[in-house]
Amino acid sequence: MIKLEHVSKTFKVGKNNIEALKDVSVEINKGEIFGVIGYSGAGKSTLIRCVNLLERPTAGKVFVDDVDILSLDKKGLQKLRRKIGMIFQGYNLLATANVYENVAIPLKLEGVPKNEIKARTEKYLEIVGLSDRSQAFPSQLSGGQKQRVAIARALAHEPEVLLSDEATSALDPNTTDSILELLLKVNKELGITIFLITHELNVIQRICDRVAVMEKGQIVETGSVVDIFARPKEAMTKQFVRGESRFSIPPKLLKDLLASGKLVNLTFLGESAKDPALATLAKRFDVLPSIIAGGIDQLKDQSIGNLLVHLKGEPEQIEAAVRFLKDERIIVEEVNG
């Protein structure tokens, strides 16, 4: 659906060149929700803006539906952009137009027939749940409601893709959840592919199928959300995935625990979460497991359990116990200071 090949973007700021994107390649499949996560300044925003050429790459190619969009002329680009909806952190609504007009005006400017404008505007305001506020002005709406109007405006063009540039970053947690629900619904019921960027792990966790982690203008890791959560490889990914849930142990306690056995981080995924693995382990081996900390992350389609366990016993017994856990398809990581 969307394919970026070796895309680079350099900004000139005074005499300095700032490389916002360095040789980034990424592919978004039709029908999925693809997220890019990274800290601010990582180049996420530049990346997403290359998809509809709000930002023109300095090198590389961008394909949308197999069309090389960098080769399009002005008219061709305008036509393409109508297939790609976009929502923003700052909503970007007309302050001088009410909710209905905010959705209808762009359609009018595109030359959509009058009766169709009315039908589409009403339809999409209904979908985002704002039919009863159609006469209100943006200044009378909450942040979440404004984002709903922006979503309706984007959907009213009946796009194939929706780009979301930090759409929930200015919203409180409850409102964020309701907007994420709406995006999920848009993806499932209207079959619209969603490409989003965010710095909030929660957004990736809740609605994304696949995710790419960005750092300093490059994508450091890409994969399904489940994989990234269960087996993060790169330091940046680990920092994101575990930044919030990583169990921190006081150094003194850690030292004591390591002296008397082994400390392991166990990740339970899908089926492996159902078996009483630790109880079986205690019965079968001469090892005493004690749980130090634990937690569960809810992803879009499944949950991931995390346990920090101390295994006390003879080294060879512990080795055997770890092998057993691995056979049970539990992801085992040793923790060393």
Binding site: I84, L94, T96, A97, I105, E110, Q140
Partner: protein
């Protein structure tokens, strides 16, 4: 009071009509030149939608030059140009040209600053929907700036009324000329006071009307 009205009512009314004529005609022409010029400034400036720095720099300097010249000097300075455009350099017809030359660049500046206040994000959102630049100018930039545009035009109009006072020097009449010729030169202060009161009332009405319209258009 009735003596004063009998003696001066006719002249004051005539002055009022001349002032209004000069103001309205030059305002309309200035708007027709100033708004497009303002749009042009916004488009051609750095990171504008049609960035063109040579054009922008030239326009910018040109506007600054005209705005540096006091109107009373400009009035005489451009006499040959006035003659060329209007065919005459005297009367209401002769003063319209210098009034427009002074006012249009001023309006362009006011329009420029009003339009620059429009959030770039909104413009980008419309670009991302595949809407052409001319449509964005009219339906997004001017629409969103309309409240500030009205306030700017109010300021320009009031400035224009002030400038018409100097029209007397080329025989165009008006309230300002009346106050000067009779109130000052012939030492009849009551005529001057009457004119000042009328001008105060006009300016108050204009500014209040401008404020009300701007507030209505703002919608927030």
């Amino acid at each position: 009071m009735s003596d004063f009205l009998n003696q001066w009512g006719g002249s004051i009314w005539q002055g009022f009509v001349e002032t209004m004529q000069m103001t309205v005609i030059s305002l309309i022409i200035s708007i027709l030149i100033g708004i497009p010029l303002g749009v042009f400034l916004v488009l051609t400036r750095k990171s504008g939608q049609a960035e063109n720095l040579p054009v922008y720099t030239f326009l910018n300097a040109f506007i600054n030059v005209i705005r540096s010249i006091p109107f009373i000097i400009l009035l005489f300075f451009i006499l040959p140009f006035t003659k060329l455009v209007a065919g005459t350099t005297i009367g209401v017809q002769g003063v319209i040209v210098p009034l427009v030359v002074a006012c249009a660049p001023y309006i362009a500046r006011l329009m420029e600053s009003a339009m620059l206040e429009v959030d770039r994000g909104i413009i980008e959102a419309y670009q991302s929907m595949g809407i052409s630049t001319p449509k964005i100018i009219w339906n997004v930039i001017i629409r969103e700036a309309r409240s500030s545009i009205i306030l700017g035009l109010t300021i320009a109009t009031i400035g224009l009324i002030g400038e018409t006072a100097m029209a007397g020097f080329v025989g165009a009449g008006g309230l300002g000329d009346l106050a000067y010729q009779f109130g000052y030169v012939r030492f009849q202060p009551d005529v001057m006071y009457a004119v000042i009161i009328i001008l105060i009332v006009i300016v108050q009405i204009l500014q209040s009307a401008g404020n009300v319209v701007a507030r209505r258009l703002k919608k927030n």
